[in-house]
Symmetry: C2
Subunit: 150 residues, 2 copies
DNA sequence: TCTAAATACGACCGGTCTAGTCCGATATTA
DNA sequence: TAATATCGGACTAGACCGGTCGTATTTAGA
């Protein structure tokens, strides 16, 4: 259902948090996890993966923590999502090597592929800086429910 | 990973097939399934759901089959996907009623919500007619593999 | 030097979802 | 009446995901 994983959610929340905290140095996994009600160990794992992907810088030991590795405006939502969930693949056959085993007869590969690119563009244009510039989502906007069946 | 289900894939393939076959009357589930190497029973189930959602019209009995319920240009990829996979929800908390249990502290709801809308727009702009106007994907375009790490 | 707090990382586990199968009922045509 | 469809629910094996646990390593400070 075109849904991104919870880990990706957590990653984006953390990235935004770190963008807002960037002047105050680094934040620890525990700090972020507690603030957003995320299981600490899971948060840690997510942050670690972001470090491995070069989106975050970490500092070990007491008073250690995480920082953004680049300017918030230089990090896109797509970067974060792909760091956590792997490459965005709309179709199962769209593997890195382009193998389409049984899908030799598939008739929608190319169009879906273009759809994928559009989605990727949308995700790529939205940066962490953009997230951070938002109001911190004051109250749970119940009024804004829309009819999903377009 | 923002991937749509195989059923949705099958649905799109069938819809395109039916768009191309529209002048020749209807096609049976068996017919379509065999042409694209899809398990017949699964194909049938997908087609039935498309009927229930009003995207296809069915005719029972011998020489029965399926037809598009509307003009190909009037059916979007979003329609098909949502008919099969349910509403497109980028985040888990985006349920129909807008409930966000633990996510009271979530700080990325609104921006992700806007991302969802952009994706939905992209899917909504691509119609079955557009799929059908494509060349039928001749050979598996191996050359067109791109670097997914944007 | 010792201890506490932090990152790093892999193994594991239970629940959920997905793809696919099976079966029976109904409808339509020849 | 027989063959061929659609219809629709029940079921299953396997993959995947969210989350947990345990342990090693690094670092700052008392």
């Amino acid at each position: 259902m075109l849904r991104l994983s919870k880990k990706a959610d957590y990653a984006l929340m953390a990235m935004k948090h770190l963008a807002l905290q960037s002047d105050r140095g680094s934040s620890s996994a525990r700090e972020i996890a507690e603030q957003y009600d995320i299981p600490i160990e899971l948060m840690a794992k997510v942050l670690q993966r972001l470090v491995r992907r070069g989106l975050l810088a970490s500092h070990q030991g007491t008073h250690g923590g995480y920082q953004l590795a680049r300017l918030p405006a230089q990090i896109s939502v797509a970067d974060v999502i792909q760091a956590i969930d792997g490459p965005v693949t709309v179709t199962a056959c769209t593997t890195d090597d382009g193998r389409c085993d049984q899908y030799a007869k598939c008739n929608v590969r190319d169009p879906l592929w273009r759809v994928r690119e559009r989605i990727l563009t949308a995700l790529g244009e939205c940066t962490i800086a953009e997230l951070a510039s938002e109001p911190p989502t004051p109250a749970p906007m119940r009024a804004a429910v829309l009819h999903t069946h377009l």
